[in-house]
Amino acid sequence: MAEKKGPDGTGETGRGKEHDAEIRDDDLERRRRELGASLATRLPNRLEGKDDAKPVTGYGQAIKLSSEFIAGVVVGAGIGWIIDRMAGTSPWGLIVFLLLGFGAGVLNVMRSAGVVAEFGQGAKPRRDRDDGK
């Protein structure tokens, strides 16, 4: 039985391995392409939105990103404060929702910079917009 596993002294194995490698390369290439395609569907389409379709000034970019972040934190703190007022849980609502608002602010900034997917698009590849849904 061990005989079969050994090399048979011809170029067979070498060629076989090379063939294998070729297949693996092809496979890898295909998977890389697929990954690229699925990443492209998950990332927001840069051409279609926001003001980064045009080269904006650094000043404009700064106001855009900072307003996104500040809005998240302010809204989180506001919700926490209202909950505290209504439920009398001061200061826990404010603390928890301030942290959540911080998270939302970071999410806003990343969304606005085009690093994460838009609302509700998650891991699902984006379908055609006019599919009559």
Partner: protein, 252 residues
């Protein structure tokens, strides 16, 4: 200009032109209201007068109106699909209002309506209110899928949904803050540099020579402000389109 007028914040003061009080509420007609009316009148008159001839081959002004129409139409189609076109009147009015208000604000002694956060927040609240009402009308509770991203582990879901909800609520805030901050900062900068010109030229010949630099800066800033006026109206309209897209297709 008198020396006290150099105060860069002075231009944002609200004056009551016709004091009105109904049921304890102050409903006075202010300079802000006057310029809102002026904005609406200018925008409506421009669009009406330039398109009233309806020539097949448009003249210069008519093609400006048609370009504005095409611009907003394409923006809405790209962002929200052909179904979004039922919101065209809404988005076009918003775009024209913000654009004309920004441009009117560039005239000396004019009041900039969009430099007050309550005005921009009112516009943004209108947008987000439309999105929420239309989303629930069209999809019912399915609209809530907007807050549940796909492929999130169950034990993380409450946290993620809370963050998504806060992120959604913060959208009108960031939308209004962006427009307001741009207009406010731009006008204050412009005023400060123009103030340098006035106070430097009061110092005699050397001051007049030295005031050339801030004068050049003020001219350059005016050009930049013109760009910002267009850009912010565009950004406001584009973001409105994207939010409306969420109302039309929450499952995407």
């Amino acid at each position: 200009m008198a020396a006290d007028k150099v105060d860069p914040i002075h231009q944002f003061h609200i004056n009551k032109l016709i004091p009105i009080e109904i049921g304890g509420y102050d409903l006075s007609f202010t300079n802000s209201a006057l310029f809102m009316v002026a904005t609406v009148v200018v925008a409506a008159a421009f669009l009406f007068l330039t398109t009233s001839s309806r020539s097949l081959v448009p003249g210069r002004l008519q093609s400006v109106s048609e370009m504005a129409y095409e611009f907003v139409g394409n923006m809405l189609r790209d962002a929200a699909g052909t179904q979004g076109m039922k919101f065209f009147p809404f988005v076009f009015s918003l775009f024209m209002f913000v654009l004309v208000a920004n441009l009117l604000g560039l005239f000396p002694y004019f009041f900039t309506v969009t430099s007050h956060i309550i005005v921009t927040f009112g516009l943004a609240a209108l947008v987000i209110g439309t999105v929420v009402v239309y989303g629930f009308m069209k999809h019912g509770l399915g609209f809530l899928k907007l807050f549940v991203p796909h492929g999130v582990p169950v034990f993380l879901l409450p946290l993620v949904v809370l963050i998504e909800v806060i992120s959604f609520v913060s959208r009108p805030v960031s939308l209004s803050v962006r427009l307001f901050a741009n207009m406010l900062a731009g006008h204050i900068t412009l005023k400060v540099f123009s103030g340098f010109v006035v106070s430097l030229s009061a110092l005699g010949a050397v001051g007049v020579a030295g005031s050339i630099l801030p004068l050049a800066m003020a001219v350059a800033l005016t050009a930049l402000e013109l760009l910002v006026a267009f850009l912010q109206a565009y950004v406001f309209a584009v973001l409105t389109c994207m939010y409306l897209n969420d109302a039309l297709h929450p499952g995407h």
